[in-house]
Symmetry: C2
Subunit: 437 residues, 2 copies
């Protein structure tokens, strides 16, 4: 199938990330999409050529974005300029020129989405906006497609990473709002003017979009209740904690008999809820459907490559609906059948992992030395040892050892040797340990 | 657009759930899909007519499943019989008859998926299997489409609810494996023969599928390392806890330079990880992509309606690729543009929620009585009160009150009255509280 030609508007953080990911993962993406995704034209007033890979594969880079949307060779326009204008004019012009559009612009969709979608509908083109909400988390896809069988009852999301970072630091480190905000600005999480983040406007843009796709209502940003986190004090975070709650800045959309709630405000939630434990700059959206029950989607809500991940997924999606050719569908196993890999499955003996070991040792000096000598000889480092008091009158004590990562066959051999020691009773209990980072 | 005609094989738990959800949410689903999804034929050896709604809308119910897959009127066959045979023969026959197939059968896909997909590819039909892994969580869609831009580095999932229920109860209640297993069987979470769940075979079926779509390798169930949870003792759960870990039964797929790891086994994971806090019968899959970073998907992994949610989403997906007509695509706002709802957005004053209130009260008898009298008169019930010791020499003490749910306008009025009390200093800090259930 011939390559999809893409015109990119904007080469800032997300634009650069999009070019970089498309370049680095070109082969993996083509194995999935069944065709090459090629940025043939790009527009930017300025960009940092040193931080972008694969610039030489772009036919033309211009400073005139309208030149790109008017180029007849381009199938799909990616809008990553942000803001209302000229993003709105560019997107409408692209649609007028029969081009599909992919955008990460939450402000644009929340405010001008109704107009843009009406124009797209008329022209029969798609406007995809997965990257506009919760960065790399495929939340739009999950709600629009994955939960299509459900009446959505409500959703609640941590959809602004800066706000969540501030609230997390206030709780975990006992810091003040102002203090953390300054650090967030220094780290680049928050803008020099942090109003959009801390006053909840950014979250309200995203909630407006989520509410519309959950309940099938037009976008109504102006009716979304918006309250920021600037008034939250350390003592509130502390008292909430004492009562078993966490304070999170949530966007909540809920269907009631009287109407639909769309509200962004700080919220106490029980600490046992999974979403209460979403910390730092991470995002998460909890969606409750009448058939599926509660579901949660978690990941990075911002950043160059997480956002690029969503942008490129949208481009692949748009490319999929261009023809009904079965070869253009999502492949059964995600990758084109003739592009499956013959990589082998590793035998368990060759897997590298960490271990929890529990053994019954005779309660006398030198036993632990024997065990650690065997582990050391096998090249196995010890992460922690827990030796319990023997039960009254018991001749053996449980010894628990956490090891660092090692190839399983070496661990098997060491376990056999330890089990052969006179001072060790029974079999050793072995459970694998993963840090999942 | 004309209705999609579906033939349903199997009217057990998931089959009944599928008919019920399609019946209850018919309008909502049609608003999204742009057409009616209609079960015109169904096959079952037996079924419980009292637990199924909308049976009268099915043209014909037969006990011969082959009659359904051979019916020329049917566009899509849903296979919910389970097991290897006759499910395999039925699915292959449906494909031979040019029908698309939707299945929830993890064992069938893990063992015979390569054969089935090859047959489907030849005929140009789709075989969709979202419901085969992690029930209602749209994890196949997330990996195949949502993360299409990424090289998947690894994934780790709690993909067997019974096993997770047992491990959760062992930790939280200090119960033994055998004891909890018996309860799980009584509750219907575990089969009379629990081998597939507790020995990890069910999880291995699902991991085989996840590994294939993550890395683009053929399905290789026989090479998936499988270890159950039957050897885990209470003391291991307890020691792991003391060391800051939780024991979870994980399916792990990881790409290494030497090959691909596919392994199911009990695993210690740090308690701070979100997935370590997925409890009871819930499922979750953590997926790490090179661009997006870690993402997590959480929800019900089994049950009639959660599984039906995934089955029906697959049917809608299949219906979408039947034509390139723009009206057949996923609508921008999830619902067809002419089916958007004009439900109003509730003003914040009309929203019902619970509250956290913090006030500065003079440290003298009777003040709390005044406050609770005002709340009581406004119909606001108190959930908890936290009164702190005054700081040395301070004339005021912080009083924190958690209330039950009430309409915001009543709370606004009560707050105004409390702030007017002589014994209360400054403004009241008010943060909303949601239990998210």
């Amino acid at each position: 199938m011939k390559p999809v030609k893409v015109g990119l508007l904007g080469m800032g953080t997300v634009g650069s990330g999009t070019i970089n990911v498309l370049h680095r993962n070109a082969e993996e993406i083509a194995r999935r999409a069944g065709r090459e995704i090629r940025i043939s034209h790009a527009a930017a007033k300025e960009y940092n050529a040193e931080k972008i890979h694969g610039l030489d594969k772009i036919d033309k880079i211009t400073d005139d974005a309208f030149e790109v949307v008017n180029n007849p060779d381009i199938d799909i326009v990616i809008e990553l300029i942000g803001g209302y204008s000229p993003a709105r004019e560019l997107v409408l012009k692209a649609i007028e020129n029969d081009k599909h559009v992919v955008t990460a612009n939450k402000a644009l969709i929340a405010k001008h989405g109704n107009e843009i979608f009406t124009a797209a509908q008329k022209k029969g083109v798609m406007v995809a906006f997965e990257a506009a909400v919760a960065g790399g988390i495929p939340i739009i896809k999950a709600i629009r497609e994955g939960l299509a069988a459900n009446q959505i009852l409500w959703l609640a999301g941590i959809i602004n990473g800066t706000g969540n970072f501030i609230l997390t630091e206030m709780r975990e480190e006992g810091r003040t709002f102002d203090d953390v905000l300054k650090e967030a600005q220094a780290l680049g999480y928050a803008e020099a003017d942090p109003t959009f983040d801390v006053e909840g406007i950014d979250a309200a843009h995203k909630l407006t979009i989520l509410g519309s796709i959950a309940f099938g209502i037009p976008l109504q940003f102006d009716k979304t209740y918006t309250e920021g986190i600037t008034t939250i004090e350390r003592q509130d975070v502390f008292y909430a904690d004492q009562l078993g709650y966490r304070i999170k800045h949530l966007g909540i959309a809920r269907k009631t008999d009287k109407g639909i709630e769309l509200r962004v405000h700080p919220t106490l939630i029980p600490e046992r809820r999974l979403i209460a434990n979403v910390n730092g700059v991470m995002n998460a959206v909890l969606v409750k459907g009448d058939a599926v029950g509660p579901t949660l989607y978690y990941g990075a809500g911002a950043g160059a490559e997480p956002t690029a991940s969503a942008v490129i997924a949208d481009v692949v999606d748009v490319a999929r609906v261009l023809t009904t050719d079965p070869n253009n569908r999502v492949p059964h196993l995600a990758f084109q059948p003739n592009k499956l890999s013959d990589m082998s499955i590793l035998p368990m003996e060759e897997v590298v992992t960490a271990y929890y070991l529990r053994m019954q040792a005779i309660d006398r000096p030198g036993v632990l030395a024997d065990v650690t000598r065997i582990l050391g000889a096998a090249g196995i480092s010890i992460e922690a040892i827990l030796q319990k008091e023997p039960d009254e009158g018991a001749s053996h004590v449980p010894v628990i050892i956490l090891t660092q990562r090692v190839r399983e066959k070496f661990m098997n051999k060491a376990i056999k040797e330890i089990e052969a020691l006179d001072s060790i009773n029974d079999k050793i209990m072995r459970i694998r340990l993963e840090t999942l980072t």
